[in-house]
């Protein structure tokens, strides 16, 4: 599914167009389509292509490639897209470490990159760039929201995350807003699958709640083991471990867990209703937050394309920065560092018939930016 996928071929273009043909716009999408993390990339890609198809914009060409979650491969694909395919825009990367491999060199070559997921702090502060737009979140955001929300009910939280930069960003973000005492703080091994030792420490710590950030399979393993351990204290976390792509694998163990996100399927706005319906109709599954962010990315690009030519970089960047599109997240605008200002919600995992999903129960932050924007001199 690499190759060139002309969005125009997918669209229903029976109407005779009398408009002059604009110059086609090429968008490079690098995402993870094979290996263990493929679910996230597939959702990203599916939502993006669907948004393009629905727009009926015939001048957009997509070049989609699989990075297999390997940084070196992602770099190679990025070079190919820039040098060989001569793409105008790039997007698609799911993981922070791949973004760190690709983004700095891409934006340095004056190619605009829009992040549909992952917002490492290293790219949000002093190293921000006018060609880098983050349409998802800054990595700390969801964790900050959970810290804020935890203040309401909890005084003694046990926190844990993997021992890598995104994990440290996570616990830093949580602690930035959390006012209570920490019952314990743990860094786990990257890719760890057995959490018995950590759960035993949570049990012994006398904590009144647990906050964890363990993306992908790590979170599934932790939740399944935690539910069986007999430790009954409430669990909090960012939405990554309770998103639509992993909920079915965790099962009922996830019921009742509070998690933070900028988006939820039940967010009450027109754009979101249309998105959820269209995605479900096309792919016969519920969209995840990755799909939602990717859908927004596509629509942001389309909104900018309707205002400015992608060849006129300054005008196009200004059009992107205006964020003049209907976000499925409701109100959305860009901060001075091109990262989102948006609401962050707290959701609870519940059941709709047989299907596990989330519903919003509170708003942790309204119009929330990030802690690094001040360091960004753009």
């Amino acid at each position: 599914m690499r190759g060139i996928l002309a969005a125009s071929l997918l669209g229903l273009s029976l109407t005779v167009s009398g408009l002059a043909q604009a110059e086609p716009v090429k968008i490079g999408v690098i995402t993870t389509l094979s290996g263990g993390g493929a679910g996230l990339g597939v959702d990203m890609r599916d939502a993006f292509t669907l948004a393009m198809k629905q727009s009926g914009n015939k001048d957009v060409e997509l070049v989609v490639e699989d990075d297999a979650q390997k940084p070196e491969l992602a770099v190679q694909i990025a070079e190919k897209m820039i040098q060989s395919d001569k793409v105008d825009l790039m997007t698609g990367i799911i993981w922070s470490n791949l973004a760190m491999a690709v983004v700095p060199n891409t934006v340095a070559q004056d190619v605009i990159y829009l992040s549909p997921n992952a917002g490492p702090s290293a790219l949000a502060g002093a190293n921000c760039n006018k060609n880098y737009f983050n349409v998802a979140y800054q990595n700390d955001n969801f964790h900050e929201a959970m810290g804020q929300y935890a203040n309401k009910d909890y005084k003694k939280t046990f926190i844990l995350a993997p021992n890598y930069p995104a994990g440290k960003d996570s616990l830093t973000g949580f602690k930035r807003y959390y006012k209570g005492e920490l019952a314990g703080e743990l860094y786990t091994q990257v890719g760890q699958t057995d959490y018995a030792a950590e759960i035993a420490q949570i049990r012994a710590s006398g904590a009144d709640s647990v906050f964890f950030f363990l993306p992908g399979g790590m979170g599934i393993a932790f939740m399944k083991q935690y539910a069986q351990s007999g430790v009954g204290i409430p669990v909090l976390g960012p939405s990554f471990s309770f998103s639509q792509d992993v909920l079915p694998a965790i099962g009922d163990a996830a019921l009742g867990v509070k998690n933070s996100a900028s988006w939820s399927k039940d967010l009450d706005n027109e754009a979101n209703k249309a998105f959820v319906e269209a995605f479900q109709k096309e792919y016969n599954r519920l969209p995840s937050i990755y799909a939602a962010q990717s859908w927004d990315t596509a629509n942001l690009i389309l909104s900018a394309l309707s205002k400015a030519s992608v060849k006129d970089k300054d005008a196009f960047r200004a059009a992107l920065k205006a964020a003049d599109f209907k976000s499925v997240r409701g109100e959305f605008s860009f901060n001075t560092n091109n990262h989102p200002i948006q609401n962050i919600y707290v959701r609870e995992v519940m059941k709709e018939g047989d299907v596990l999903t989330n519903k919003i129960i509170a708003t942790a932050f309204e119009k929330h930016g990030d802690a690094y924007a001040e360091q960004c001199k753009m």
């Binding site: 940084p71 190679q76 060989s84």
Partner: protein
């Protein structure tokens, strides 16, 4: 030698391809193919380094990614410090000069390989495979969790490092630098194999006791081979970091060690051009299959399986027939 052997002809064709295709790509403005060729050259260099231990010495190291990554981190760390105007440990100045970086990378890898080799060589066979893996895993986990240089997120080089008199930011000059290094390493490999040291290594590989009987210590010979091998692979790592302008722990991972071994077996173990043939085929298949289908790994697996089952002695073995090194 009167008539050219089929392997020599194949080697010549490979060398010619490596030189001509990128030049053609440069002439036609398809710069990406130069980048792809540079990747082939660097991976070939890394595998060629490993081939000194594996092919000549019979030392199957499953931990050479450690040296590949160390070399990469040398380039990344020196360049970052130079970029930020910070001194290194003990106030030593940082640099963006490639020759200096290469020297540091090679020396550091040699220094690290010495104790690793000395301990690992106490074992043999599958135990050797696994103890080298153990050392590489230690370094990998250290890099993932060490925050100063990016941890799992890795380290970006904002500009490619410099080489006196060459504009390294352009794809073609950088490719030619890498190709020259590969050629030099291939000469080293060829000289080593033909030297008395090479003969002793070959003897050590085949029969340790007989070698001891004639008063040569197989341990020391193997250790030297292991250290040289690590140095060459480390140099490749430094080049790789500059190619990607990025270094991360994935260069240190066991998957990378495995890939290097695969390149050698694919091309032909112990053969001068084995790693080159292996890297060429692997990278091109990865690229071409990736262009056709999302399931490219499935088909890459089929191709590799076909090579093992039907091309004994690797691709060059298939071309050359069953001669020379086994």
């Amino acid at each position: 030698m009167a008539a050219l052997s089929r392997e020599t002809i194949a080697n010549g064709v490979l060398a010619l391809l490596l030189l001509v295709v990128p030049l053609l790509a440069a002439a036609s403005g398809e710069t990406f193919y130069i980048t792809l060729a540079t990747r082939i050259v660097i991976l070939a260099l890394a595998a060629l380094g490993l081939n000194i231990a594996l092919g000549l010495g019979g030392l199957v190291s499953f931990g050479h990614a450690a040296f590949f990554g160390l070399g990469g981190y040398v380039a990344g760390i020196l360049a970052t410090h130079a970029f930020n105007g910070e001194a290194l440990l003990f106030g030593l100045p940082a640099t963006t000069s490639m020759p200096v970086i290469w020297l540091v990378a090679v020396l550091l890898c040699g220094l690290v390989a010495l104790p690793i080799g000395a301990i690992s060589l106490r074992t043999s066979g599958v135990y050797f495979i696994m103890i080298t893996l153990a050392f590489a895993q230690m370094i990998y986990y250290f890099a993932v969790s060490w925050p100063d240089y990016g941890g799992e997120d890795g380290l970006s080089l904002y500009v490619r490092n410099t080489f006196p008199g060459v504009n390294t930011a352009q794809p073609l000059p950088y490719f030619l630098i890498c190709l020259a290094v590969l050629a030099a390493a291939a000469c080293l490999f060829w000289l080593l194999r033909g030297s008395r040291f090479g003969a002793a290594l070959e003897a050590a590989r085949q029969n340790t006791t007989r070698l001891s009987a004639v008063g040569i210590a197989p341990f020391r010979i193997k250790l030297v081979a292991f250290v040289i091998s690590a140095m060459v692979t480390g140099l490749a790592g430094a080049l790789f970091a500059d190619l990607n302008r990025f270094v991360s722990p994935s260069m240190l991972s066991w998957q990378m060690s495995g890939e290097l071994i695969v390149l050698i077996i694919l091309g032909g173990k112990g053969r001068l051009f084995g790693p080159i043939a292996g890297a060429m085929v692997y990278v091109l298949f990865e690229y071409a299959l990736g262009g056709i289908t999302e399931r490219w790994q499935f088909f890459l697996g089929l191709v590799l399986l076909g090579v093992v089952l039907f091309a004994r002695g690797g691709l060059l073995g298939l071309v050359a027939g069953r001669a020379r090194h086994g």
